[in-house]
């Protein structure tokens, strides 16, 4: 079998036993890529030559020695493009390494390529990419989710072993759910954001997309930790995750928030989530009904705060210092107008305008500051819930992957795709999405486990136990 189908953990064993060489992994991946990338379009850029060169001098004693990893196209890796799937960063080459990228390098991994995304991570379908759309490996007529849709499609489509993504409102978990892989959004402050092109700084978090929970833990162990370059990273000492895998969920309390199980929700999704809950119960866990009463406000709060932050974060793309610059500008104001009008896509413009509006004099009290207050209440919801349970168990997405083009003209409907993931970012908690079933039409369904802040170990333990007791992660999309 092609090495492209293996997990990182397995490949590491085989590398260490000298059974295979890092170049074998790359060769198999490139064979797969050649066969499937044309359909999937998961990548915006491939490091073919530099990856093969790197494979010849890897240090296998390192935790990720010889393991190729794909990066979402908003993570700076020195010398590689970093387009954020935007025309405005056309031709831009990263002049430095993000901390996460530098940690991957130090851990011995090989940078495989850069994955497609919604422009500046704004979207839930990867259809907002200026570099073309990405298809769902399970059904190429459907979206892969977003914004880390390229990362999810590459991992699920077996053209990457693992990829990094970023999650601002669900951008790792929702595509992971829709593509049938494991997506982890760590607690805010767990992984350095230095070098991640910011969308909404108080919500953004880097995380891994992998085939298995074990691989997810492996990557988190490499990436987690305080970074003196990121003021918002937590000061706790580095941790190694999931070092013990006894598969037990005995005694764990799972909270089922009633606001996440609504009448009229997708029935196949609901029954898959209920079966997952039953499995935990059967294996010694208890189920608790909990409430996160401010959940209905989350989308509104999110689209105020995230866009407000984005309006400032994206102000730097002005054509003066780097990236695309409009030609024949009359003066500097005209340069700004034209560069940004030509360089940004419709959704990015929509959010910049929305964010500028909610911060404007006369409106900031009603929108931005009010949303900050509600955010504090949402955070309290979670704190309160975690006095009653150890993990929250919810669907990741209200429904499986929807058809390409279905919602591109209806932004509000598109925003609802993140209804179950957004609150976690607002509260700052960590959460994972892992496959928990398939629809009749063979589309993956994702289970979300949300932990208390810095509760990744519990999340990973429970997710691993569930995963290993089922075969969902082993199922392959049609080739």
């Amino acid at each position: 079998m092609s090495l492209a189908y293996e997990t990182i953990a397995t490949l590491r064993h085989r590398l260490l036993s000298k059974e295979i060489h890092p170049r074998d992994i790359l060769k198999d991946l490139f064979t797969q890529i050649d066969a499937r990338e044309k359909t999937l379009h998961a990548y915006t850029y491939l490091n073919r030559e530099s990856a093969l060169a790197a494979a010849e001098k890897t240090d296998l004693s390192l935790p990720l020695g010889g393991i190729p990893i794909a990066l979402k196209d908003n993570l700076n890796a020195l010398g590689d493009p970093c387009t954020c799937a935007s025309k405005i960063l056309e031709g831009y080459k990263a002049p430095y390494d993000a901390t996460a990228v530098s940690l991957l390098r130090q851990a011995g991994s090989i940078l495989l390529g850069r994955t497609n995304m919604d422009e500046f991570a704004m979207g839930s379908s990867t259809e907002n990419s200026a570099l073309g759309l990405t298809r769902n490996p399970w059904d190429p007529t459907r979206i892969p989710g977003g914004s880390s849709g390229g990362s999810a499609a590459a991992v699920a489509g077996r053209i990457a072993l693992a990829a990094l993504g970023s999650d601002t409102g669900g951008s790792i978990r929702q595509p992971a759910a829709l593509c049938g892989c494991v997506g982890l959004k760590p607690t805010y402050g767990r992984i350095s954001r230095y070098g991640l092109v910011a969308f909404a700084s108080s919500l953004d978090q880097i995380g891994p997309l992998t085939r298995t929970v074990e691989d997810s833990a492996l990557l988190l162990s490499v990436l987690a930790g305080h970074d003196p370059r990121d003021n918002t990273t937590d000061l706790r000492p580095p941790e190694k995750f999931l070092t013990q895998k006894n598969g037990s969920v005995q005694g764990l309390r799972f909270g089922l928030p009633k606001e996440y199980f609504l009448p009229g929700m997708d029935s196949e999704t609901e029954s898959a989530i209920r079966s997952a809950a039953d499995w935990f119960k059967k294996n010694g866990a208890t189920l608790v009904d909990v409430s996160l009463p401010h959940t209905p406000t989350a989308i509104a709060v999110y689209y105020i705060l995230a866009t407000a932050e984005a309006s400032a974060n994206l102000a730097r793309f002005d054509g003066v210092r780097y990236g695309r610059r409009a030609t024949d500008a009359r003066d500097v104001l005209d340069l700004y107008h034209r560069t940004r009008s030509e360089g940004f896509g419709a959704e990015v413009k929509r959010r910049i305008i929305l964010g500028t509006f909610v911060l404007s004099q006369g409106y900031a009290d009603a929108y931005y500051r009010q949303a900050q207050k509600v955010r504090a209440l949402l955070r309290q919801d979670f704190e309160k819930a975690f006095t009653q349970c150890d993990l929250l168990l919810t669907p990741t997405s209200p429904e499986p992957a929807f058809p390409l083009g279905e919602r591109t003209q209806d932004p509000l409907k598109m925003y609802l795709a993140d209804v179950f993931t957004i609150s976690t970012n607002l509260a700052g908690n960590g959460a994972i999405s892992l496959p928990c079933g398939f629809t009749k039409s063979n589309l993956p369904i994702g289970l979300q486990l949300i932990g208390p802040r810095f509760g990744e170990e519990t999340i990973l333990r429970a997710a691993h136990a569930f995963e290993q007791a089922h075969d969902f992660f082993q199922r392959l999309p049609p080739s």
């Binding site: 908003n74 993570l75 700076n76 970093c82 954020c84 960063l89 831009y92 990263a94 002049p95 430095y96 993000a98 954001r193 230095y194 070098g195 991640l196 092109v197 910011a198 909404a200 700084s201 108080s202 003196p228 370059r229 990121d230 003021n231 918002t232 407000a308 932050e309 309006s311 400032a312 102000a315 730097r316 793309f317 002005d318 003066v320 210092r321 780097y322 500097v332 700004y336 500028t356 911060l359 404007s360 004099q361 900031a364 931005y368």
Partner: protein, 486 residues
């Protein structure tokens, strides 16, 4: 120059101060001016995608220290905000500043009477001893520097992201002289704390002025005008003098004052409209999500406290009390800490401490010395003052000793010996000189006895000449008088 009695001006200042830190405000780049353009830059201060700011704790400490020196209320928790506007010299198109929760609030700057312009130091305005209240002090990052060439512009990013402290005064100032003294007095405090070199002409301290006029007795403020391009303390004074007169003339003609920003043109000696403020800029301030709130109560404040220097007002009072210097001398000494330390060393052992101040501030300073490196030991001035005080040399001889001291630095006692200058105070020797003088100048003796007391000067001059200037003039005077009235 002076405001007609009917009107008074209301003035508030916003002072930007460059801080003496090794590195920039939010990155590790060197904070230094005058190097090759854009040579101290990194992803953070260039605002590259993905970069993040990390606050410079030394800049926070210096701001807290300034707050302590000026009697501000210091925030236990402060925050950084983003101030949004587009400008090519601002890499992120937002400036990290402080809006709702600045590091320091309140406080005041006491106006030093001797830091008013020279010619009005004797007026009631200068002697009023007012203290100007502060609104706040906050910390922010500076922008890059634009250069405009014939057909294009260039930006030097070395200044981008360097720490900048903004001190905002209440609208307490009433005259250009007060504004002048405010800037000088504030500078003394900043120098005392080693916070900044605060030299306006080098751009280390920059000042925006808000000024309006109103009839005396009216409580409401008039329409305020902001003045920019003020590059020196005297420029601030000149600009205010012009602008106040302009506003009063307009008001007296019944014209409305436009709410606008005006540019001071130092050469033309006038202010000109830069932009009107009808459309107030909306900076859309919000807390910077990249930066955690700053807890000043966990070490930063304590560290700042240990660096509290002796404040100018305290130092001046001590100089007057301990050394008997005049208030003016205390102000001059207080304004130059190195000179002041030199003086204190010089006066420490001296018996005539106030005279030491005269020597240093009048004679020594006029030679434009560098008190930090001069080979003339401060103790020499104490010795010189004491030589005069104990009658070893007279003041004319002292001038000679001083000149020799400057030319060939050595102990004044040695110089006195070397030049054979010691004063003759021996009564019998002086008596002989006096007898000679009386014998040689019968006319003057006659005149003196006839009541022309000035005639004694000729006799004194004879004695001094005879003694080669070494005679103790006070004793000569006494002896001559005694002999003449005998």
């Amino acid at each position: 120059m002076s405001t007609p009695a009917k009107w008074e001006a209301v003035i508030g200042l916003e002072v930007h101060v460059q801080l003496l830190t090794q590195t920039k405000m939010f990155c590790g780049c060197t904070n230094h001016y005058g190097d090759a353009p854009t040579s101290h830059v990194c992803p953070v201060c260039l605002g590259l995608p993905g970069s993040l700011p990390v606050p410079n704790e030394e800049a926070i400490r210096l701001t807290l220290l300034t707050g302590l020196m000026l009697g501000c209320t210091l925030a236990p928790v402060a925050r950084f905000d983003r101030k949004n506007y587009f400008y090519p010299d601002m890499p992120k198109n937002y400036q990290i500043s402080q809006y709702d929760d600045p590091l320091c609030a309140g406080g005041q700057v006491p106006l030093d009477p001797f830091l008013f312009p020279k010619e009005i130091q004797d007026t009631a305005e200068a002697k009023a001893g007012r203290a100007i209240r502060l609104t706040r002090i906050h910390l922010e990052e500076d922008v890059a520097k634009s250069f405009h060439f014939e057909d294009r512009s260039g930006i030097d990013f070395n200044r981008a992201g360097t720490p900048l402290m903004e001190i905002v005064s209440e609208a307490d100032l009433r005259t250009p002289g007060e504004a002048f003294s405010f800037l000088g007095s504030l500078r003394q405090v900043l120098l005392a704390g080693h916070v900044s070199h605060a030299d306006m002409e080098k751009g280390q301290m920059r000042c925006d002025v808000n000024v309006s006029v109103r009839p005396i007795g009216q409580k409401e403020f008039g329409t305020k005008v902001e003045l920019k391009n003020l590059n020196s303390t005297s420029g601030v004074r000149r600009a205010l003098t012009y602008e106040i007169a302009r506003q009063i003339t307009a008001c007296e003609k019944g014209e409305a004052i436009a709410h606008e920003t005006r540019r001071w043109d130092d050469e033309a000696g006038a202010t000109f409209t830069m932009r009107t403020k009808e459309k107030a800029h909306d900076y859309r301030y919000f807390p910077d999500p990249d930066l955690l709130p700053v807890r000043t109560d966990q070490g930063l404040l304590e560290a700042a406290r240990t660096r509290l220097p002796e404040l100018p007002s305290v130092l001046q009072a001590r100089l007057i009390q301990a050394f008997g210097v005049t208030a003016y001398q205390a102000s001059v000494l207080g304004a130059d800490r190195i000179l002041c330390a030199y003086f204190e060393k010089a006066a420490a052992q001296a018996k005539s401490k106030a005279t030491v101040a005269n020597w240093i501030l009048n004679d020594f300073l006029s030679t434009q010395p560098d008190p930090a490196t001069t080979p003339i030991l401060p103790e020499f001035f104490g010795e010189l003052a004491d030589l005069v005080a104990d009658g070893t040399i007279n003041s004319a001889q002292a001038k000679k000793v001083f000149a020799e001291l400057m030319a060939n630095p050595a102990s004044p006692r040695e110089i006195v010996k070397r030049l054979g200058l010691a004063q003759i105070s021996d009564v019998s020797a002086l008596g002989t000189y006096c007898d000679e003088a009386i014998a040689a100048n019968p006319r003057s003796v006659e005149d003196y006895r006839a009541g022309k007391t000035n005639a004694i000067n000729a006799l004194k001059g004879f004695v001094m000449k005879k003694s080669q200037g070494k005679a103790n003039p006070l004793q000569v005077d006494e002896i001559l008088k005694a002999k003449l009235s005998a």
